[in-house]
Amino acid sequence: MSIAILLLTLTLGAYFIAVIEGWAVHGRFSLTRPALSAVALFGRESLLARTPDRLFFEAAPVLLLVAGLLAVAVIPLAPGLIIADLATGALFLNAALAYVLVALIMAGWGPNGGYAMIGGWRFLGQFIAYAMLIVMPITAVAMRAESLSTTMIVTSQADLWNVFYQPLGFVLFVLAAMGLAWLPPLDLPNAPGDLAGGVEAEYTGVRLAVLRLARMVIILALAGAIVTFYLGGWLGPWLPGWAWSVIKMLVVTTVMLTTGRLVPRVREADLLAAGWKLGIPLALANIFLVGVIALVVDI
């Protein structure tokens, strides 16, 4: 029964993220617009390219939605309120989100179109840039919590949130999360300016609706991950646990969706160079730092 409630709250969260994105893109805050565009997408034809890889083209949106939902499944909103409390929850979150890459490669290769294919392989380059910056901060978080379970990670932050304990890891993880959800300024796969829609260009109608829903769920999962690993999940005074989780997730989503648009789209060469020449040394330093603090201070 609680899984049904959880799924309902998560779809509401995904809807609200769509509202925030509409506000960030079009500058007008309207609660009904995402619903209207979803219903309109239902009415539109769902086209197929001439010599597509039909299996890839159909599987990509579904795989993206499954990846997003499995990632959301391990996010705890309150002490008992979690869909699947795995002992290696953090690792499972990372495993589920790795299939975002697979789905986008399928979506890129499927329609046999110029923009889509280039968008697909560019996202693989973007993945190689941010992959290490997601895995290493999670290791540092697990070091402090002495467990990979997301609920244990949250309870380990009772005295001090991880955002203050390991701020460097927090910054790297947020940037990598924006890369994973290909939010601007890291929207290389579907760059409207470079590839006119790139990976998402060939999807129309109900397939596009599923693709956009999947993207909202992925953004929700990443916001949940940031809140769980760094902002103390459901911990907070006065309000009940689940209220804190939801508020923090929405705040993190709003920050990710709006601040990203203040910066021009990053060049792929710069992204890879920054990720590997700056990001990985910082991530290793973060692990070393947390290692030393974890031994010295015992909170």
Binding site: L70, A84, L86, N112, T139, A140, G205, L272
Partner: protein, 122 residues
């Protein structure tokens, strides 16, 4: 809610199958509303107002293969770091030194790649 490990996996599998079912229902509803008409030029991938009919499945020249090769090795490294991170606080200093050596070795590999020009757009 079964709290045994296998129960959790069953929930996850159910979630996956449920999602696939949900998407198939959406497709069924959309197909019930109206069918897609095949018209000339509609099935050519949209390239800004001109028809590009040639297939593009060619040998794509990615320029980041230097990073990709080093990524494969770093990914292997991560597999070792997870179990280490879980027992780190109990093991204390020996864990720190142990992983320090491991990471130093791998950082050496990264520096070598960097010096040889692997970390750039080839």
């Amino acid at each position: 809610m079964e709290n045994s490990a296998l129960g959790q996996y069953a929930i996850l599998l159910g979630l996956t199958l449920g999602t696939v079912g949900f998407v198939l229902c959406l497709y069924a509803v959309a197909r019930a509303i109206a069918r897609t008409r095949a018209e000339p030029g509609k099935d050519v991938p949209a390239t800004a107002g001109s028809l590009a009919r040639d297939p593009v499945w060619v040998r794509y020249h990615a320029r980041y293969y230097g990073y990709a090769l080093l990524f494969l090795s770093f990914d292997m490294e991560m597999a070792f770091m997870y179990p280490w991170s879980v027992v780190y606080r109990k093991e204390g200093l020996v864990a720190l030194l142990d992983m320090g050596v491991f990471l130093a070795i791998l950082f050496l590999g990264l520096l070598y790649g960097w010096s040889q020009g692997a970390l750039r757009r080839q």
